[in-house]
Assembly symmetry: C2
Homo-oligomer: 336 residues x 2
């Protein structure tokens, strides 16, 4: 098996201008690969792709219920959001339930990822805070878990903090991996990230989506998070974002989430399948095209969802004057 | 020869998280390859990498001198600028010499590529104009040429307009290619872009840098444009940009210019070499690391320039809290 497969082409005129390679793993709840391209066992940092798995302890511990987190707040805990006003308000609201403010967040501040939101923030005369960090919802969830565990919240991003131990244990159980000796890095928001086989990530999302093999308690938590995302898909990403639009149109059918450096994961409950994608070079544009092609291959949805996916499998590129100059397209390898 | 070489790794912790492949061609003024990685003959859209070549007719026709373009305005004609206030003022100044305004530019409007400039513009209550387009200086140059040729400026971006015919003829002569049957696309700013062998682009920049084989008139024009870039390197890119910093520190020794989709080109007059780089996936971060490694390989400069290049061959990645989490680094294939 080759390590990498040609997954996406970027065209200009009638020529291919750029190419993206990578790997795709689609697994069932038992861990059996039902489809793959490239090396499905490659070690991959799943980055923000696994935020929903990192959110399981928040729900199954009873912390979310104890502090009365809303569906929007739970969706934001699984999000890489654009820092739009709705996201900022939701993060602030979750912290307020804990009696905390943005000062408690250890994710760092950055300008909103959504360009229009960044410009509007600048126009207001204000600057970015930790609430605008795309991970602020996940971090508010970590703080909620710390409060419910009655441990000192400060330092909650450290690998040895009780919160991260719970989060890592959930990742291990869901992926069926042992992470103690796994290659480790620091994620963009400061928490540990572990390299794991791509197929193990796919298996975890098969389980997350179908609830099989998790035990009643964890299966209920997974359902709560899925339903939160489907109820409040804007919180997961924001304006124009792939995951938000996919779950607005595919609510109940697909859970999808991007991660940095060309990661995309998905759960398809009705099939009991999980999907994990890694683009070698880290390109989001390519990961999205591949996810769209995978969802068409597996579900062939009709209507608005199907049309939207088709437009993401082959996405037109326009120049600054609005002229169509090429497209980003998944290769035929991904066709059903 | 393999089509692509492993050129850049992106690490997280001790692991390689993402990889970039591509091709490098280094040629002399005769077109002889002196070094290559990957397929040096691959057809490549050089995009904005060839703006300096597209600027030759502006100078050699006498148009720039007739309208009194400054060195800053000539540098901006070769630029992919950040839309910072200095760039906008320079573009407006060049148009004013022609009795024209931003309305004459056909490049389209976009928010400044420089994030801080975009936010400052939004904070001022204004929006982007064609002057903020990263190609506005090149387009002002096209208009200057049209005025000097005494042809109708409107439509100057069309392949059949007298301005584009001059520009294409200069590209053909510099690269030694015939572009009539070359794969063609529309560039981000609306003008034609032609796919050509990477080695031909490298040869063109060897000639551009050394002035050999161009005839006296064109050689003088190339020197004028090189010296404009070295005199006003901020205009070429802007704050924090690779090309600007490289020419601030390496003025007189290197001319470098990025292009969209992972293109980078360079001229090294003292060696008579030209460089052309294409990253398969289109990543700028990778093209910059490769160019830095190539310049160290060829010049091994000491002092500030050498230190700056070393910091670009291995560039630390920091997360939002400022913690170093990995690096972007050129592979050993590029070491001398």
């Amino acid at each position: 098996m080759t390590a990498s497969a040609p997954l996406v082409e970027v065209t200009r005129g009638l020529s291919v201008e750029s190419r993206h390679t990578g790997a795709v793993a689609i697994a069932d709840v038992t861990g059996k690969l039902v489809f793959s391209l490239g090396d499905a066992e490659r070690l991959t940092f799943p980055r923000s792709g696994v935020k929903a798995l990192q959110g399981l302890p928040l729900v199954e511990s009873g912390a979310a219920a104890r502090f009365g987190l809303t569906e929007a707040e739970l969706a934001l805990a699984c999000a890489s959001h654009g820092g739009e006003p709705e996201h900022v308000a939701t993060a602030a609201g979750a912290l307020a339930r804990l009696g905390l403010t943005a000062d408690a967040l250890e994710c760092g501040a950055h300008w909103p990822m959504n360009d229009a939101a960044a410009r509007a923030l600048a126009a207001s005369g204000a600057g970015p805070t930790t609430l605008h960090n795309n991970c602020s919802g996940k971090h508010a969830g970590f703080l909620c878990l710390a409060c419910a565990m009655e441990v000192e919240p400060a330092g909650y991003i450290d690998a040895e903090h009780p919160v991260q131990r719970e989060v890592t244990a959930a990742l291990e159980a869901m992926t069926g991996t042992r992470l103690a000796e796994a290659p480790r890095g620091v994620d963009g928001c400061g928490i540990p990230t572990f390299a794991m086989p791509l197929a193990a990530v796919a298996t975890a999302f098969a389980r997350f989506g179908a609830g099989h093999g998790l035990g009643e308690h964890r299966a209920a938590a997974a359902r709560t998070l899925r339903e939160a995302a489907w109820s409040a898909p804007f919180q997961i990403g924001g304006s124009g974002r792939f995951d938000t639009e996919a779950m607005q149109l595919g609510a109940g059918r697909v859970f999808v989430k991007m991660g940095a450096e060309g990661v995309h994961v998905g759960a398809i409950p009705e099939l009991g399948y999980g999907v994990a994608i890694k683009i070698d070079d880290g390109a989001t544009r390519a990961a999205e095209a591949v996810m769209a092609a995978v969802l068409i291959r597996l579900l062939a949805p009709e209507g608005d969802f199907g049309e939207w996916l088709a437009g993401r499998v082959r996405r037109p590129l326009r120049n600054w004057a609005g002229v169509e100059v090429g497209e980003v397209r998944a290769t035929e390898l991904l066709a059903g």
